[in-house]
Amino acid sequence: MSRLRELFDVGEFVVTGEVAPPRGTDLSAMHASVDLLAPYCHALNVTDNQGATLHLSSLAASRAILDRGIEPIFQQTCRDRNRLALQSDLLAAWSLGLENVLVVTGDDPRAGDHPHAKGVFDLDSTQLAGIARGMNEGHDMMGRELKGATDFYIGAAMFPEAEPWDVQLARIEQKIAAGVRFFQTQAIFDMDKLQRAVDAVRPLGAKVIAGVLVIRSPRVVTFVNEHLAGLMVPDHIAERIRVADDPAEEAIALAAEQVRDIRDIADGVHVMPLGLDAAVGRILTG
């Protein structure tokens, strides 16, 4: 059974991190990242062509980090594959020992490094979550019996700070109804809005892992605001990083503060160190 699920079941505050598969076949940088994060994290997300840019597949990379001794969260986007391929990869993932799957829509190809690609979006993330649950119950999306079922712990993304909230909330409820059991949030800057999201999700039986982004420099602020979909660094935080003598140290201190706040609100924290992997220990224990 998924360790992530077991930890949630016993009420543990869960810590997850994130690694990106390489653009190429050399896994050494990813493994170095895994080795830095593993002592502090219960599981690691493995991104799927993140930002619509080409990387080695999440499926293969997830298996690679499992072999390195840490539980992966296999990410699957709806952007690059149709319903046959998505289901086929879900079966492959289970057969490879991947027990957590995080289903997301995926960034539009026009935002990535292959802007002429056709975005598939045959399914959306809610539909894909429902299909994964069906596979857990032993059938494919057409209702045909599988020879050997899956038992995925199904996660999805959530955006507590995006307005209008009623639209977000409807989407969250939809995903839970489809079979989502845990959410990872976009980077959180406003703890009141995180509280609002957790209050909505908890009664429905799902867990919330709050995202923390380490904004190590003013350049990262610009990058986030201009390139990361659905995310804006608030002015007071951007200013704090901008005026700091040592922006990286300030970012680590800020992230540690956020983690402390999140411990009182959510079920776990998802750290996105944006290159400061070596500081994750200090962020989580600071």
Binding site: R79, R83, V104, T105, D107, D108, R110, A111, G119, F121, D122, L123, D124, S125, T126, Q127, G130, M141, A157, F159, A162, E163, P164, D166, V167, Q168, A170, R171, Q174, A177, A178, Q186, A229, G230, L231, M232
Partner: protein
Amino acid sequence: MIITKPRDWKRITDNLESVGARRVFLMGCGQCATVAHTGGERELEEAAARLTAGGYTVTGWTVGDVTCHLNGTKLDARKHREEIDDADAVLVLACGAGVQTTAEAIAKPVFPGLESLFLGTVVRNGVFEERCQTCGDCVLGETAGICPVTTCPKGLLNGPCGGMWNGMCEVLTDRECTHVRIRRRLTEQGRAGTGTLAPKDFSTALKPGGVNIRDRVTGRQKPSREASAREEGAR
């Protein structure tokens, strides 16, 4: 209506060069391409002037009534037979459907003069938006008359995606998110949300599409071949 735009002129002349055409007949369309200002009288005159300036001879031109109508286009071609006979090739300022009827009606090289873009809504004169992609599996009944398949850049039935920010679309950042609009209109009408919409049936959109409504329109019941064979056998 079908929205078209002018085709790159170099591609047009390359097409004409490919068959060594110097004498050209022009075919427009009195329907969509006239409304879109791409294949009406004025545009044909402009194209004729441009061809002439480029050293071509325009043997004649006509704006077909409904150029995508095969028999109508055959009739138009007959009316202009001498001018067409005098030409090496025909350039069609209509959508791809009109190019193909013309190519079937006229036994000479026929080339497209426009690019066909989408099934468009005329928002106001000269402003066209794609709001329907003729998918054959309509969800507008559930989505308050706003098509998410077409107007959400990702075509998501269940949205918004994670890129929505302050109600605005991630991809077309100057537009409101389709799913926010759907929810607002449903709420204004006192209707519940869409619920989770099931994956679409894309088999209805398989190409090429074809519909024959002759029996339904005329009320005739033409027995199928199998039924006729059975009747023959019974006799």
